[in-house]
Amino acid sequence: MSIEAIPVEPPTLKHAGHAAASTLMRRHRLRWWEASPWLAAVAFYFAFPDYLGFGTALLITILFALSLDLALGYAGIITLGHAAFFGAGAYTVGLLAFHGIWTEPITSLVLAALAAAAIGFASGLVLLRTQGLTLLMLTLCTMALLQEAANMAHDYTGGFDGLPSLDIAPVFGVFEFNPLYPDTQYLYTLAVLLVCFVFIRTLVYSPFGQSLTGIRENLLRMHAIGSPVRRRLVICYTISAAIAGIAGGLWAQTNAYVNLSALDLDRAATVLIILILGGYGRLYGAFLGAIAYLALEHFLARIYPSAWQLGLGLLLIFVALYARNGILGLGEDVWRRYRAGRASQ
């Protein structure tokens, strides 16, 4: 794709010391707090062995939301059809396992990613010419078509009833998936999430990532500086699709089950909500959004089933009104105010 060689630094770096320059040069460096989500995830494993099923679902949602963030948050591709890729990945894993063709989990995930990427690339080529509501509807309808196709291929996909009792080979041939106490599933998912996250993080801080941000911030200007906008968008969309596919693959593996809901509008809408809720275009928004949404759904639903809908609705309204850029955005504002307050003293 592109030459990744980093040219030797120019002789004079007289501006390296300048605040702006040094911020930009240090921006990608890891900060201490970036370890916390992962530490928390490991802590969760030991603290709540009874909640690993929920935990696994949470991790998968985070990954799915991250994939969307790449397309929507960074490149500004507004899509309501991202479940198409989640489903593509899920069915790739599911079909391979159910028909006894391939059950090795990690390679299955790779295949899931490829399948999803293929669909992402194809649809991206056609759809990414459009924008706004049109793009939204086109992505949505593409997903709906896939779902209906999966329903029609009932004999292979099991349709609404899905593909039952998938047996997935042990990870590295050693670690069995345990249905009752899904510890293997949890750690496995966590590992995959970490790998994908590192990849995405590298991507968004790269020159490519920056040009995506440029496209999001001002399309016409990107054209005017001679950027091959469409190609960039398609590449980004394809990568995003691949990661969504991995999330779907994980979902199929950890549930040992796939059905049409993998391709559902509910799923696409939910992940969109989660991302906006957490804050898009900000990597960690996906984490916060997923945790907030799922925790609320999971525990409010226990207290009083239709309460979670109400509570969730109110939360969304609140965030939309008072926390532009989602929970993370709110946090950033508070932090900035606090810093400013300190400075003024």
Partner: protein, 251 residues
Amino acid sequence: MTEIRLETCALSRRFGALLALQQIDFKLAVGARHALIGPNGAGKTTFINLLGGALPPSRGRVLLKGEDITKRTQAERVKLGIARTFQINRLFRGLSVLENVCISVAERVGAAPAMFYPIGRRTDVIEESMQLLEMLKLTTIAEHRVSELPYGRQRLVEIAIAIGSKPDVLLLDEPAAGVPSAESHIILDALERLPEHIAILIIEHDMDLVFRFAKRVTVMVGGAVFAEGTPREIESNSQVRAVYLGQAGHG
């Protein structure tokens, strides 16, 4: 006679029934400081869109260094050295001034497609961007978010981004538009600091700015070239005064 950088032959563009540009023959010399003036709706911006490749012409040709680029896309023309600014800011408002320029520079030096190392390692890109900001006296605000800058400064960023692609031809669409006259001098200072070799075509309504900056002026009226000459010739041209300067007046 100085060497011609950009040239148009019988360039025309129509929108439906309206003939926005008719038979424009125009020459832009190397290192030119050329102003394009005329009443609203004279077709000035359309002309720039045709030169930059944002719009295809209905008829006629555009030549860069004698080579026909009429069929070239906007992106290709940028690579060939034609950059432009917009009448209304088109900036990456959420990003810092430095990043705004970096995006442009990275695109030019071919760094933009790179995925697997952070932009921060491209110190060459950052360095060049900083130098560019320095030239435009913007280093002090390099860290600021564009959206937080006063409008005048934003107009400078607009120019900086264009310079980022190291053009030989720079098309400026009303760089001082919307800038309070108290500030408009900073635009002029900036323009005067641009490298000599760049051929600059500027659309501007602020006549002081035009006559102080431009070495040559073309007056466009109703989609056609009405007059061309040195600022003094144009200023003294009675017809021009009649159709344009008079009504435009100046502060």
